[in-house]
């Protein structure tokens, strides 16, 4: 069990819904992932709107909706989108993204902190997408964010965790949950995040854009479980030289 924003979750995998080819593929991936929380974005109503098929799928899967502020470049825009999402979905939860650059999609730290302060004051459960900077993560936690979500590497890059040491430093720096967000490419990246002490992993593209999304969703589910087990089991220290696992005593002289 893991506690996030006052909610008990048994799955430590959060699934982003962006990038799935269609809603059937998405639904199969959600089911295979075992997730209880999925992200959605807020965009203009399509002219062919009849009813929101995405929300129906999420209802059917019994998962909670975590709206994001994707595409916002300023604190003002992100705060407005968070309020719109609260109106649309009736949730105080927000995955706060304030992007600084459209090539890397890395966060703008100054705007992110400003938006987080305002949304915490407005009563939101703020889950900020942040960089792998331990000092920034601590500032976000100190101002009242419910978790910090460092990027392993740029969104959608699949490059994995570029600076594992910083993820460990973030784990040490904050008491709130750490959710590795962005950059995961395959199951071993998710397992590594958990082995570094992250409380959860958020994966979107690695699942939705895989050749077989449901199969990758299942892989992520087991990777997160395995990584968490390994973290809590306490790994052996790394050594420069070998250490035999078989005792020398009783070795025959031939």
């Amino acid at each position: 069990m893991f506690r996030l924003g006052g909610r008990e979750l048994s799955s430590r995998l959060i699934l982003g819904t962006g990038g799935a080819a269609n809603l059937t593929v998405l639904e199969d991936a959600i089911v295979a992932s075992g997730t209880e929380v999925v992200t959605v974005a807020l965009r203009r109503v399509d002219p062919a709107f009849a009813s929101n098929g995405l929300l129906s799928v999420l209802d059917r899967c019994g998962v909670a909706v975590l709206p994001n502020t994707a595409g916002c470049y300023t604190a003002t825009d992100a705060v407005t989108v968070a309020h719109l999402a609260r109106e649309a979905f009736g949730t105080d939860w927000v995955k706060l993204e304030v992007i600084g650059d459209d090539r890397t999609l890395l966060p703008d730290a100054v705007e992110l902190v400003a938006a987080a302060e305002k949304l915490v004051a407005d009563g939101f459960v703020v889950l900020p997408y942040t960089s792998d900077d331990p000092v920034l993560a601590r500032r976000l936690a100190d101002l009242g964010c419910a978790a910090v979500m460092p990027a392993g590497s740029p969104i959608g890059s699949g490059l994995g965790i570029g600076n594992p040491h910083h993820v460990s430093l973030i784990r040490e720096a904050v008491a709130v949950p750490v959710i590795l967000d962005a950059g995961i490419g395959t199951a071993s990246d998710a397992a590594l995040a958990m082995e570094l002490g992250c409380d959860a992993v958020l994966v979107a593209s690695a699942v939705t854009r895989a050749v077989e999304p449901a199969r990758m969703a299942s892989a992520m589910r087991y990777a997160v479980e395995a990584g968490r087990l390994a973290y809590t089991a306490g790994r052996i220290p790394k050594r420069f030289h070998a250490l035999a696992s078989t005792v020398d005593e009783g070795r025959p002289e031939l």
Binding site: G16, T17, G18, G19, A20, L26, T39, V40, A41, L42, R43, R44, V45, P47, F49, A50, S51, N52, L54, L55, V65, P67, N68, A70, T80, H83, L84, A85, E87, A88, F89, K95, E97, I155, A182, A204, S205, T208
Partner: protein
């Protein structure tokens, strides 16, 4: 009255409200999972029917889509 709805020019009758725009865009009176901004400010669902439009308003009618 000339307004902009989801980035496109639209003409609404005098006295039209945000609720009229929502009905026009979604085909429903109370669509689920929809939020509205009027010239950058959030219009709560409870205020749709009594928030009148003004010439030049920019109305955004938004809903959930797949996203990160």
């Amino acid at each position: 009255m000339n307004v902009t709805v989801n980035g496109k020019a639209a003409t609404m009758l005098d006295g039209a409200t945000v609720a009229d725009v929502v009905r026009e865009v979604t085909g429903q009176d109370a669509p689920r999972g929809v939020a509205v901004a009027r010239s950058g400010a959030v219009v709560p669902r409870s205020a749709w029917s009594h928030t009148g439009l003004a010439e030049g308003d920019r109305i955004e009618v938004l809903t959930a889509t797949q996203g990160g």
